[in-house]
Assembly symmetry: C2
Homo-oligomer: 629 residues x 2
């Protein structure tokens, strides 16, 4: 008698669902939940699972009753999922969707009709109705009772070529779930709109990089919030200031990892450690919400990212050749820890001491690692019209800037953190050489401003002097009635890729913005098109600079013409470059009225490999007797 | 002993190809062609095939040595192809591609390595190199020797969901072929660039409509060219004038079909019968090239399409309720037949008497059928910038026009002929009601100006007063250096859908163009953006109307900005409507400065159904012994 209920593929029966008549259905209904649970208990009793072969794990719901573990085989292009359901009623939905909605989602469904339990690959339409997939690409491998709950093991290829399936790529994936509280006579009877549902963002396809050699001496430093009471608000950003001892000598950070207080795994959403500027010599201590009026203003000078962790991320290792300078002269002794608590159920009385553990060494590595900002300058001249579904802004790091600022042979980018504010939906940076796109530095087609992590690149990107780095950000402003201008405010927008690289250079910013004079031509054109400024009138000679750019954008009559002409302007007008050593010091050269880099060939989208071979046509009966022998 | 070599799917061996070493390959090479032919002769000798179950047939090459027949199962969403190769050397390629190129094509390949013959589903990359498809969706059913040549029977689903496969829809399909003159050791050794290749355009998915009841009296009239000598030019349009007897009474045309002179099946590309205007009472007779200087100018008044046939088209039946008025008072007695000869091998001395046979009746049907023009007015204000890959122009038939011109309940559109000039690449007409797109009237995503046929719609489209009909045309002007303006000339462009409908109404034209005043704003804007017109200078008040619109377009400095702003203008500016009874008489009302119809919801692309179940992983060995029993 094997304790686990194994469902190897050759034993599965690809059955069509029994369709009981209405009366049978009604009589079944009352006891269905109980039967389902009894079946599971009877069939799946067993011992604790062996040590988990799943390196990645996230809770799906805020209480952590659903927990997902997974591993990735890049060779087979398959993910194995282990879904642990701690208190299952009558089944569940799990899957992926474009932005975390339960409509138009790619799903697996475990459900019961009262008699049998079924597992199927399904999808939901735009109204949330669930349908069976023509091609069954999620394959159930095992259903096992553990002391913690029901554990389902199933696998899915990255790409299935089923048009109803989500294409799993190495960017953010919005995992979705739904809880079935009662039996359903058929899969098609399920609608996601009536269920308790939720989403969790993760990077499923984490790069499999070997752990680099670590130095023999490796002290650690824990930067943790001091036993704080988690506020009963959905969203809290907690700020905590940490001061290093005086005369803390030069080190290299070589690794860091998250420390999560036990029990709070589903609440701690992400954490970042920022270093303060060394131009300010002293910072006050603080532990409290980041948006509190009590927070000292000076903390705004602590913005240089040292470490960042988000749900599901593993320890972060710097490449063997490089480390992040830390301590010593010219390095601030002050650090700011920011912890994002996500508490949608507004649970009270929970205490937390989570934070980040830095591993550093005095045996300095060969290279200092640095961080460079690519994308757009924080300026209102780059704006997004309102009511746009997918408006793209582009920031350039030009060949001229990399030529001046990088020394041969060049730099290695090994990690990247994409950044926008609230309307950002996609971000991508592409490297172009000699006018041809060569390589994607980092891309997230499902980017969320609520899920910003430093991601190791699967392959280090080598940037030579003369290369161009083009960063595209896509925004959704459908909910906004006014233009969204670039800037520092949370209601303004950014388009940034913080790339982590070595050897460190003086180049800190390589960003662009449209030339301000050409933007004035745009405002003139729109005014004139709308007959608000008659060409022969004396007002025409009044310089429009008397209004600020945000004011000018606010007075544009937004319609498809003014929006599309703005997009046309951004795609044509010359740019002003910030090719800067530090935020204010430019490299020598003329950086205004620069031509847009010319790209004569773009990268082709790779064709997804579709799995060949048999695919069952219907749901798998989770056969109870299948587990006994 | 069965004469045919049958390869039912369960008998096929899905083998990987043998990979002989280089020396073996060399020794094989010399005799490979001979062996291959011997094998085929030995294996496939047999009797003539039974009567063809394939209703559609086209020659692929100008000599007609490759001939394709096919049938369509809409229930199974599968096409069965029968490919007849009259003089096969060492194999062939057949398939489909976006616009008839041999690169990026979806292919089946029949080839030999000298020992065995293979059949495989393959694709060619952008350099023409052939690769095996991961998923084998073309399935060989039979290879049979007939007195005419080798006949291959294979099938393919409309949609395969293999990203390397062509999606077969009900629009124009560019069939491609290539001839293998020698053996290849592997599929991957084949490159299409070295082969004799060609293309043929067809509509593969012809609608399966029941043949309507025909009247008991049904005289026919043959309109045929009088035994002409086909010119030895690649392209000839032959014009022939036909005069009906005087006092030819009122009839309804209820059917027509092509008459192709035997032997010329591969040369006669398409034919059209035009009726002349009844405003001109007499036309000279003529039989000669349509572009000849000898052609009387008056023939240009014969433009009203009565019948159109193109390669692969079957007899055309009018719906049972309707017929095309023909003869009687108010109907010209003069017809012009136009035959397009496609003679790329410039063969000499061939004679032809092809034409069209009209079936008509004196028992007039309930409704007259009519033709209405949708799309864009023939005017230079609608222009396409140069160097554009896919520039879209849109023509509207507004709710106001259908409200005024159609009487309740409305009209039934049963056929459609799309029309552009040389740069047209796609055409689609969509019906919108209450601001929502409801139905596609006709769509061709692979439209070619060289393949214009009247297509029966699979489902009649009902148009009510107040409906909107939106026609989009997509143009490719990558080869042009100047703007392409709208107009009658072949170097100018059109965007038209001739819809065939009943009951006939007075509405002949329902077309639009951008308001001319707004276009002048565009020219001003572009001039000003380029600092060619300074706002405060006196020239600003010189009206630009002194230059013609084509001249103004010719002086635009084309770049991404001026092109995109033109597109933005067309997508925003008000339109001028031609809501006309005949080409000059408008319906009463104000048709200028009309707002663009608002569309708040668009049709969703249907998800292709992917076939489930087994798909072999490799090529099929065309097993010789498989045919013997």
């Amino acid at each position: 008698l094997t304790p686990a209920m194994k469902v190897p593929s050759h034993r599965c029966r690809w059955a069509t669902l029994p369709s009981p008549n209405a009366r049978e259905a009604a009589s079944m209904y009352g006891t269905a939940v109980a039967i389902f649970l009894v079946i599971l208990v009877a069939a799946l009793q067993g011992s604790a699972p062996a040590e988990s072969p799943f390196p990645y794990r996230v809770p799906l719901d805020p209480e952590g009753t659903l927990e997902l573990s997974w591993n990735v085989s890049y060779r087979q292009e398959v993910i194995h999922f282990q879904l642990l359901a701690r208190a299952l009623r009558a089944g569940l939905l799990f899957g992926m969707s474009d932005r975390g909605q339960l409509e138009n989602a790619d799903l697996v469904v475990l459900w019961t009709n009262g008699n049998s339990a079924y597992f199927a690959d399904a999808w939901s339409d735009q109204k949330g109705k669930v349908h069976l997939d023509a091609q069954q690409d999620y394959q159930l491998l095992q259903a096992q009772r553990t002391p913690e709950g029901l554990s389902l093991l199933f696998k899915r290829p990255f790409a299935t070529c089923d048009p109803k399936d989500y294409l799993i790529e190495d960017d953010t994936v919005h995992l979705v779930y739904g809880i079935l509280e009662e039996p359903f006579q058929s899969l098609e009877a399920i609608n996601t709109s009536g269920l308790q549902t939720g989403l969790q963002r993760v990077q499923l396809l984490k790069p499999e990089l070997p752990i680099p050699n670590l130095p023999s001496d490796m002290p650690t430093m824990e930067i943790r919030v001091p036993n704080v009471l988690i506020p009963d608000n959905e969203t809290t950003y907690w700020c905590y200031m940490k001061e290093l001892q005086e005369n803390f000598p030069s080190h290299h950070i070589v690794k860091y990892e998250a420390i999560i207080t036990k029990g709070n795994e589903a609440l701690v959403h992400h954490m970042e450690v920022f270093q303060c500027t060394d131009e300010v010599h002293s910072f006050p201590s603080y532990s409290g919400p980041c948006d509190s009026k009590m927070k000292p203003d000076r903390l705004n000078y602590c913005r240089h990212v040292l470490a960042a962790w988000a749900l599901g991320a593993k320890p972060f290792y710097y490449p063997e050749e490089a480390g992040v300078p830390f301590g010593g002269p010219g390095s601030s002794r002050f650090l700011r820890l920011e912890v994002h608590y996500h508490n949608p159920r507004k649970m009270q009385g929970l205490r937390d001491s989570s934070g980040i553990r830095l591993y550093y060494t005095t045996r300095l590595r060969r290279f200092d690692a640095g961080i460079m900002e690519l994308g757009l300058v924080y300026t209102p001249v780059m704006a997004i019209p309102p009511r746009e579904r997918a408006f793209v802004l582009t920031g350039y790091c030009t060949d001229k800037c990399t030529q001046v600022a990088l020394s041969p042979p060049g730099i290695h980018i090994f990690a990247s953190q994409l950044h926008t504010h609230l309307t950002g939906r996609k971000v991508v940076t592409v490297l172009a050489r000699d006018g041809r796109e060569r390589e994607i530095v980092n891309r997230d087609n499902h980017y969320s401003p609520h899920f910003q992590e430093i991601r190791m690149l699967r392959k280090t990107v080598f940037v030579k002097p003369g290369d161009v780095l083009i960063t595209n950000c896509t925004y959704n402003t459908e909910e906004r009635q006014q233009a969204t201008v670039g800037g520092l405010g949370i209601q303004e927008e950014m388009c940034v890729n913080y790339v982590h690289y070595y050897p460190r250079t003086e180049l800190e910013l390589c960003k662009s913005a449209v030339d301000a004079g050409f933007l004035q031509k745009y405002f003139h054109m729109v005014d004139r098109f709308n007959d608000r400024e008659v060409c022969t009138s004396p007002q025409a000679s009044v310089p429009p600079q008397f209004a600020s750019v945000p004011e000018q954008f606010a007075s544009v009559p937004w319609n498809s013409f003014s929006s599309n002409v703005l997009a046309a302007l951004y795609g044509y007008a010359p740019i002003s470059m910030h090719c800067n050593k530090s935020s204010a010091v430019r490299f020598q050269g003329n950086w205004d009225l620069q031509p847009l880099p010319k790209v004569i060939s773009t990268l082709e989208e790779p064709t997804p490999k579709c799995p060949t071979g048999q695919s069952p046509a219907g749901p798998t009966v989770v056969s109870i007797t299948g587990g006994k022998s």
